[in-house]
């Protein structure tokens, strides 16, 4: 994985000093809250319901064990012993003190981590495929490109006060595991007809209150123009994105209002101009970064046999693993969705355990998934049983990846000041209901996603089943949505009809799954059946 050189370290250290100085000026009254807020947000510090919340960047989701141990230590030292892994592949802490935040950032910097640009109206943490560098189906490892973009976007002087937040994702396989087209810019690394590697740019996707799937703006940008083209995309947005209404300020609205062809034309014009400015990094820099992502020392000739004699292990191995490009290896997913637990939360102790296991079994590497789970990307198939036994012992062996128990849920009204309704208790009740009835396995792949308000942090628009918390005259109410997907077949879910109370929404989800079980044809997932039969049979069952 990428390691800092003295330049990277100096930048991050300077940022810590800068934040300490900003916090001092706030506490001394030299900065008002209105002036300080955008500064603390650009260091990931929110003010939430119960305290300050800190969002730490995990660039493209990749972590080593020293970093994970530090995240655990931070949970103990500055928070209340736990953290929350998010759909942005980051981690959030819920109980941070402003007066300690500088020390926390310094501790992070000591393991080459930071909270830079994890919030605010700037280019955010770059996300990527959580199986990058391991997946059998990838063209190349997308992370060197993500790292180059991370460096380019860090402290970019022109783009620190954009109309609104800006999220970039980079993938390099046809299977989309990063919701690429639901980002402000989604980049897919592709090969053109001449066999050269380059970037396809999708611009103007996003969730929030007006979800949009990003259209293709340019099908091939050569690697030695990646930064220049990105800069052109951003400059057009910075100048013309709406600033009169924060709900219309995302780039998706600009692309939509201009039309993708006109937006693309303006980018092209800016791009032509910028190409004369010499802002592109030397290709040698991409090559330097790529060396950090070279394969670890995989062994060859390893056994690919799995001993399936223990049925519990066999179930977990079937559910929670992903094929690896190297024979004899596999990617293993640690579910942070124990039935009845809080989706994405991990205690300091669990983080230490995961870090130790990564060191022992996965070349010291972990990935945070946007589904709020953790991947050990490079595990020997021969070690899988031992790994599973250790996970089981630590309560981390839940076999429910991509099932109805593997719910994405935002913090909701338990933590978030923008929420209408709680998300976590609904997730807990649904997972418990299906686990108790033993229906999880029968339902197969079913992606359920819950947001506590229209901002859609829980990706409800992109759930096979989505749930949206709304405020109904001061009480919590939940709308049901069906038919979303954030994979390569991206689609936006549709609302079924009137909302439900907390118990009602759990029943409603069960009714929707009953319709699926009754109507499904051979090999169909919930989403496939919904797409074939449409909304009506579901409405009938829910409201009929």
């Amino acid at each position: 994985m990428y390691l800092y050189d003295s330049y990277d370290q100096a930048m991050v250290d300077a940022r810590v000093a800068e934040f300490r100085d900003q916090a001092r000026r706030r506490l001394e009254g030299k900065l008002t809250e209105d002036q300080f807020k955008p500064l603390r947000l650009q260091n990931g510090l929110y003010l939430q319901l119960h305290a300050y919340m800190l969002r730490v960047a995990v660039p493209y989701g990749t972590l080593n064990s020293a970093q994970m141990h530090m995240l655990a230590d931070i949970a103990d030292k500055y928070d209340r012993g736990y953290g929350h892994f998010t759909t942005r592949q980051n981690i959030q802490y819920n109980w941070i003190k402003l007066e300690e935040a500088g020390d926390l950032l310094a501790d992070l910097a000591s393991v080459e981590m930071h909270a830079i640009q994890t919030s605010g109206n700037c280019i955010r943490n770059i996300s990527s495929d959580h199986f990058a560098g391991a997946a059998a189906d990838e063209l190349v490892d997308p992370r060197p490109y993500a790292e180059l973009l991370r460096q380019w976007s860090s402290f970019h002087p022109e783009f620190l006060h954009l109309p609104r937040k800006f999220k970039i994702a980079v993938i390099a396989s046809d299977t989309d595991r990063a919701a690429m087209r639901l980002h402000d810019i989604g980049i897919q690394i592709v090969k053109n007809d001449a066999g050269e590697v380059g970037c396809a740019f999708y611009v103007g996707g996003g969730m929030g209150r007006t979800p949009m799937v990003a259209p293709l703006i340019k099908d091939f940008v050569p690697l030695d123009q990646l930064i220049t083209y990105s800069e052109a995309c951003l400059r057009v947005y910075n100048r013309y994105g709406r600033r009169d209404n924060k709900y219309k300020a995302r780039i998706k609205i600009l692309v939509h209002e201009l039309g993708k062809d006109e937006y693309a034309r303006q980018v092209e014009e800016e791009f032509a101009h910028l190409q004369s400015q010499g802002i592109e990094p030397p290709l040698a820099e991409l090559a330097r970064i790529a060396t950090f992502f070279a394969d670890p020392a995989f062994e060859s000739g390893l056994s690919t046999e799995l001993d399936r004699s223990n049925p519990d292990f066999a179930l977990w191995a079937d559910r929670n693993t992903h094929p690896h490009k190297q024979a004899g290896y596999i990617s293993a997913v640690i579910s942070l969705k124990p039935v009845g637990g809080i989706p994405g939360d991990a205690s300091a102790e669990q983080m230490h355990t995961i870090a130790d296991l990564a060191k022992e079994y996965s070349f010291d590497e972990m990935r945070v998934m946007h589904t709020q789970n953790i991947v050990l990307p490079h595990v020997k198939i021969a070690d899988l049983h031992t790994l599973w036994a250790k996970l089981e012992a630590a309560g981390l062996g839940t076999p429910n990846l991509d099932t109805i128990e593997d719910i994405i849920a935002c913090p909701g009204l338990d933590y978030c000041s923008l929420a209408n309704a709680r998300s976590i208790p609904v997730a807990q009740k649904i997972a418990t209901r299906f686990a108790e009835k033993g229906r999880t396995a029968e339902l197969g792949e079913l992606k359920l996603k819950i947001s506590g308000c229209i901002n859609a942090c829980g990706h409800h628009h992109a759930g096979h089943i989505g749930i949206l918390g709304v405020d109904k005259k001061g009480t919590e109410n939940y709308q049901l949505l069906l038919g979303g997907s954030e994979a390569q077949d991206t689609s936006l879910a549709k609302i079924t009809g009137p909302g439900f109370d907390e118990d009602g929404i759990v029943d409603a989800v069960e009714k929707a799954t009953d319709v699926y079980l009754a109507q499904r044809q051979q090999g169909e997932r919930f989403l496939d059946t919904y797409r074939r039969i449409g909304m009506d049979p579901f409405k009938e069952a829910l409201y009929g």
């Binding site: 930048m11 300077a14 800068e18 900003q22 500064l39 620190l160 954009l162 910028l274 802002i279």
Partner: protein
């Protein structure tokens, strides 16, 4: 803010040029384009800086107004002018605060006239904060990726 005494609203507090300060008033972009003799112009956030590009030769001062520090259009304005070869004074005016000084400087501003006078020591620390920069902009700094491959 701590110290608002002893300064008028558009007094230049920081200047990184040796030439004489331009002290004649600026005109709006629209009236600049109408008047063939104006040499100082003031750009508001919604103005298109590219309209000035044919006339850069005769401009000695461009003021870019930041009515709110949260409106970042002025950063692109500055770079567009510098990229087109503008050499005159580029002055940030309005809601200019300590923590925006360095990014503004990197985008090509070389004079700053904040609405409210800034603490000198805090401002100096902000200008000097980062030893390097990751990316190219409109200042003299070599980006880190060039330094790495010298």
């Amino acid at each position: 803010m701590a110290d608002v005494l002893g300064t008028s609203p558009d007094e230049v507090q920081f200047r990184f040029r040796d030439d004489e300060v331009v002290d004649h008033g600026t005109v709006t972009v629209d009236s600049f384009l109408d008047q063939s003799n104006a040499t100082a112009v003031r750009i508001e956030p919604g103005d298109d800086a590219r309209a000035l590009l044919p006339h850069l030769e005769r401009i000695a001062l461009v003021e870019v107004n930041f009515p709110s520090f949260m409106d970042g259009r002025g950063y692109s304005v500055a770079r567009i002018l510098r990229e087109a070869g503008y050499q005159g004074e580029l002055r940030a005016v309005g809601d200019v605060l300590i923590d925006q000084l360095l990014p503004m400087r990197r985008c090509g501003f070389d004079a700053f006239a904040p609405d409210q006078k800034l603490d000198e020591a805090d401002a100096q620390a902000a200008f000097d904060r980062f030893p390097h920069a990751y990316q190219s902009a409109s200042d003299a700094r070599q980006p880190i990726w060039n330094l790495r491959h010298d």
